[in-house]
Amino acid sequence: MAASVAVPRPRFNGKTHPPARVDTEPLWVRWLLTGLALAFLTGFLLIPLATVFSLAFSKGIAAYFDALTEPMAFAAIKLTLLVAAIAVPLNLIFGIAAAWAIAKFEFSGKSVLITLIDLPFSVSPVVSGLIYVLLFGLQGWLGPWLAAHDIQIIFAVPGIVLATIFVTFPFVARELIPLMQAQGTEEEEAALVLGASGLQTVWRVTLPNIKWGLLYGVILCNARAMGEFGAVSVVSGHIRGLTNTLPLHVEILYNEYNSAAAFAVASLLAFLALLTLAAKSFLEWRLKEQFTTQQQENPS
């Protein structure tokens, strides 16, 4: 991981020389490359972000808060929080279960399971939304049966939750699998020999060992759950005050040329992104620390 390596050099004339520099590019190349990266970052990330906030406040602070507290916007915020509150805990449980099975046990079909977990990453969100329409929609496979029993999934909250669970499925599992594989099963075995039950082993040994990685996965999962547009757009039906999440609400406002309100709502999502970024950096730092102590423990 270390970018520069200190190379011991032979002594000449009894004098010690500083270690050789590994980055040998001339100064102007380094300035040019750094400058390019910064310009790219500014153009594609910082300026749009600043635009979001400046347009959000373009009609004054009062208009900004009006846009957020207006009933339709408020309903969208509530729905988004509700969807995340259902999808994230469920994917937390699915993710731990899948990672546990994959990292700690040997079974046939393991690689198929890993591929399936990755599937939502490789499928376009619109397609994943469409899958649910084809399954549960009125003309879908289960549509007539659902209609007969008066259950509505598509163009209703359940469909939005299902689509969100689908697109956010890999986050927790993907984060935990390598961590759990690196930790192996010896600590769990030690706990079992000492008389701990299966539940005690998971609760007292496995979970504490993965808590930072787990939190990291949950934060990414949550960010995606709140920000998901494509899949949710297909199944939602865009009913204002009922099936509109924050990203969909932004789109509607924008299409109505109400750009100040659209950007005000969008600034909420941007703010969420910044929070996520901060939490992510903190957790990455914790995880790195954990990995280094792990390597110290098992130098082989």
Binding site: E186, E187, E189, A190, A191, L192, V193, L194, G195, A196, S197, Q200, R204, V205, P208, N209, T293, Q294, Q296, E297, N298, S300
Partner: protein
């Protein structure tokens, strides 16, 4: 607690790790399972612990069938090669773990736990480390904490999987002597796995030599070292020189040399292989009748107080290694140098009966 293992078979896919192993361990004994890597010794240990299940065969603890007993109910302590300490817990909590996870009715009071953990910490002489985390300890300290953790639940059997395998040579030696003293104090039935014959010879009451999923020999350290049952045991417990030759009327014929047969030579055996340890080879400057094999010195190496000679037989039948204390090298062998000629006479030879020939014999 005594352990009786009979006819344990274990396969992993197409690989048979244990081919019907039977073994009895008496109460209070310290037994070593010794063998090269892949011989099945760790698998056997894990089956005794209940961490793996045997395909067939039975395990009795004190005469009671424990084959299907759950790992948590076997009352064994297990010490892992890489310690397996709980990394997010302090040393204190690691040792207390086995007591804290007990059902409420059997769980000792907090005060009792405190007392017990501190007793164990002083037993392993690390009481000042109670509030540290495993990552802050050295390898030797971690292994002693792992041992204390295993002892906290007062196991009837202590199982150790290559307990010193990950430590450096000096710590290893200290720790295995310490383990022996600890065992003499506690008298808990113990089985430990090792691939290091020196460790097994020094620490164990009895040694079980395993090879390719089968037991080659069971015996005290002296028995397996002095009276190895098979060529494999002989070779695994130390360095060895091989002489191809024949036995005729109590005389061993090796090349041109005729040697008086001392030791256990089976009369009547024809072509045979003689096994001689490097320190049992006598090196002479002058011929002693026809009783020696001629060789020239290829190399002389000093390893501390011991001299090792690399010899090449003049009749072209390969190389030999002789080992002797420095004093003898200087006095009796007159500090023979590279390139000089010597006469080699085995002081002690072993012959294994015919059906063992070829099994594990390197030539």
């Amino acid at each position: 607690m005594s352990i009786a293992i009979s006819n344990i078979v274990k396969t992993f896919g197409g690989f048979t790790a244990l081919k019907g192993v039977s073994l009895e361990v008496e109460a209070g004994e310290l037994v070593a399972l010794l063998g090269p890597s892949g011989c099945g010794k760790t698998t056997l240990l894990r089956i005794i612990a209940g961490l793996d299940a045997a395909d067939s065969g039975t395990i009795l603890f004190d005469g009671e069938d424990a084959t299907r007993r759950h790992v948590g109910e076997r009352q064994v302590g297990f010490v892992f090669q890489h310690y397996a300490l709980f990394r997010h817990m302090t040393v204190f909590e690691n040792i207390a773990f086995g007591l804290r996870v007990r059902p409420r009715a059997q769980r000792p009071a907090e005060k009792e736990i405190q007392r017990k953990v501190h007793d164990l910490l002083s037993l392993v002489q690390l009481d000042w480390l109670a509030q540290r985390y495993p990552a802050q300890l050295s390898g030797g300290q971690r292994q002693r904490i792992a041992l204390a953790r295993a002892l906290a639940v007062e196991p009837k059997v202590l199982l150790l999987d290559e307990p010193f395998g990950a430590l450096d040579a000096k710590v290893r030696k200290d720790l295995r002597r310490w383990l022996r003293r600890l065992h003499d104090e506690l008298h808990v039935t113990s089985v430990f796995v090792t691939h290091d014959q020196e460790e097994a010879l020094e620490v164990a009451d009895r040694i079980v030599v395993l090879n390719q999923g089968q037991i080659e020999q069971i015996g005290t350290p002296d028995e397996v070292y002095d009276h190895p049952a098979t060529p494999f045991v002989y070779q695994f417990l130390g360095d060895v020189n091989l002489f191809h030759g024949r036995v005729h009327e109590d005389q061993a014929h090796i090349g041109e040399a005729e040697l008086k047969a001392r030791g256990q030579l089976n009369a009547g055996a024809s072509a045979t292989i003689f096994y001689v340890r490097p320190h049992e080879l006598e090196v002479l400057r002058r011929p002693d009748g026809s009783q020696a094999v001629r060789a020239w010195v290829r190399d002389v190496r000093r390893v501390g107080s011991v001299i090792r000679l690399q010899l090449e037989r003049l009749d072209g039948h390969g190389t030999l290694e002789a080992e002797m204390p420095r004093e003898r090298y200087e006095d009796e062998v007159h500090a023979v140098q590279k390139g000089e000629q010597v006469f080699v006479r085995p002081k002690n030879m072993r012959v294994f009966s015919e059906h063992h020939h070829g099994s594990g014999v390197k030539d």
